[in-house]
């Protein structure tokens, strides 16, 4: 009997809170538009297509699948690493699909879906400058402002000089000018950057990674129904093969920068080869 009343109380509480505050999932369906923040300068996750001038990429493909399933229109809002959380907390967007690494610090301010992509923090350097992780301590390394890259780098190599830039293209220019000796980013992003460099023979991605980054969808704090909906959707996309199709479109064998798929939605860690 006691358990029953508790369940009843919980149910009532749930109903009351549901009625008291508007639910984002319902709001999105009602509005008929899903507003998603995505990168506009970070291929292949989110970048402006030369031909159509629209933002496309792996993140956008995932956002498109979610919008399709919700039966609403997708509206992409361009963002950069530092603006992702403010956009969510200020309710300027409903979700963030922007190569968003899940961290406990960030999870205090916003919620995350299950990871749909994973990678490790790697380096891009002039050929021959960086052979082993120990060398990082003596280098000037460029990173993007507002990313976890900087924190990880500082934590593991406190003696390294970290120079922060507004965006990856700036960091890349600094590397090519010789202002920094290496830049750091997700390995997957570096592969794409290297693939696009006109003088790519001069650069390399040393074969080590200093972290494991699990990337999820950023959701405003407390939207539990929306998170559950996203998690179900993402797991379904893995099951029906869409996830692997999306991955192959950007990292598959036919792309400019092929990268084996080491993480599947629902895994706890990157698969080690």
């Amino acid at each position: 009997m006691k358990i029953k009343t508790q369940v009843l109380a919980l149910l009532l509480l749930g109903l009351a809170s549901g009625a008291a505050m508007a639910d984002k999932l319902d709001d999105i369906k009602k509005a008929g538009v899903l507003r998603v923040a995505a990168f506009d300068g970070n291929p292949p996750f989110g970048f402006v297509d030369e031909k159509t001038h629209k933002i496309i990429g792996l993140d956008v493909d995932y956002a498109q699948e979610v919008a399709k399933r919700l039966g609403v229109k997708l509206e992409i809002v361009p963002t950069n690493p530092a603006n992702r959380i403010p956009l969510l907390t200020a309710n300027k967007v409903d979700l963030v699909f922007a190569n968003f690494t899940i961290t406990p610090e960030r999870a205090k301010v916003i919620d995350f879906s299950v990871p749909y992509f994973a990678s490790g923090q790697q380096f891009l350097a002039r050929k021959g400058t960086l052979k082993s992780p120990e060398q990082i301590a003596s280098l000037r390394v460029g990173a993007d402002k507002g990313t976890t890259m900087e924190a990880t780098l500082r934590e593991k190599y406190p003696n390294a000089t970290v120079v922060l830039y507004d965006d990856t293209p700036f960091a890349l220019t600094a590397l090519r000018n010789g202002n920094v000796q290496a830049i750091t980013q997700d390995g997957s992003k570096l592969v794409a950057i290297l693939g696009n460099l006109p003088d790519k023979d001069k650069y390399e991605i040393p074969g080590f990674s200093i972290s494991e980054e699990l990337e999820g969808v950023g959701v405003p704090k407390g939207e539990t129904r929306l998170v559950a909906y996203l998690n179900d959707t993402l797991k379904d996309l893995e099951k029906n093969g869409t996830a692997s199709k999306i991955y192959d479109r950007w990292f598959g064998p036919d792309t400019k920068a092929p990268l084996p798929r080491l993480f599947k939605i629902g895994d706890a860690h990157i698969r080690t080869q």
């Binding site: 530092a82 959380i85 610090e105 205090k108 301010v109 000037r140 460029g142 402002k145 507002g146 900087e150 924190a151 000089t161 120079v163 922060l164 830039y165 507004d166 700036f170 220019t173 600094a174 000018n177 010789g178 202002n179």
Partner: protein, 241 residues
Amino acid sequence: MSAELLAPKYLVWMAHGLLMTAWIALIAIACSTLAGFALALARDAQAGVWRGLARIYTLVFRNTPLLIQLFFWYFAAPNLLPETAMLWLNTPHQLQLAGFTLSWPSFEFLAGAAGLSLYATAFVAEDIRSGIRGVPRGQYEAAAASGLTRWQVQRYVILPQALRHVVSPLFGQYMNIVKNSSLTMGIGLAELSYTSRQVEAASFLTFQAFGVATLGYIGLIAVLDVLARQLQQRVALPARN
């Protein structure tokens, strides 16, 4: 808004940023004042070439956004330099000066200081020029009639009077230099705005991080304000009875 205060670690970051801002602003103020005087004199020089060059300088540096100029000096200008020069500029050197060891500044600092100084020079020069123009024409004629050379006229008659008019607008420019230095965070210089954004990204204490930065800028500007008042009192004309 959370009521949490910034951890000491973060305050140390901000203090470093504040020092960097003060340092780069000081350099830009000194350089732009010297160069500004030269540019102001060049704009009223007798030789047309100097006037023309000074005009072009003012046009270029006043009519483009500072951020673009900073990007130019940091990201674009290095392409014009040979690779070995860039390598040298980016390697730490040590300078022994009167027993002090000066460490070589980062390229971010060099580009930032150069960019800020060159930009501010154009504005400082205009203010100095307006001060010089404010001295009545009769003063030139009277000074020249008493047999002073052109340079002596400037040095002993015109500039002392011009400076009185110029103190207030000049310090306004110095305040602008302090505030404009925040744009150097775009080229990776770890000054006050850069560290405030860094603290914000690490702690999520947005209000506190930008609040402390705001107080830092207000403090620096207040110092300039006090200096301006003191200087103005010192150069003020004695009241006539």
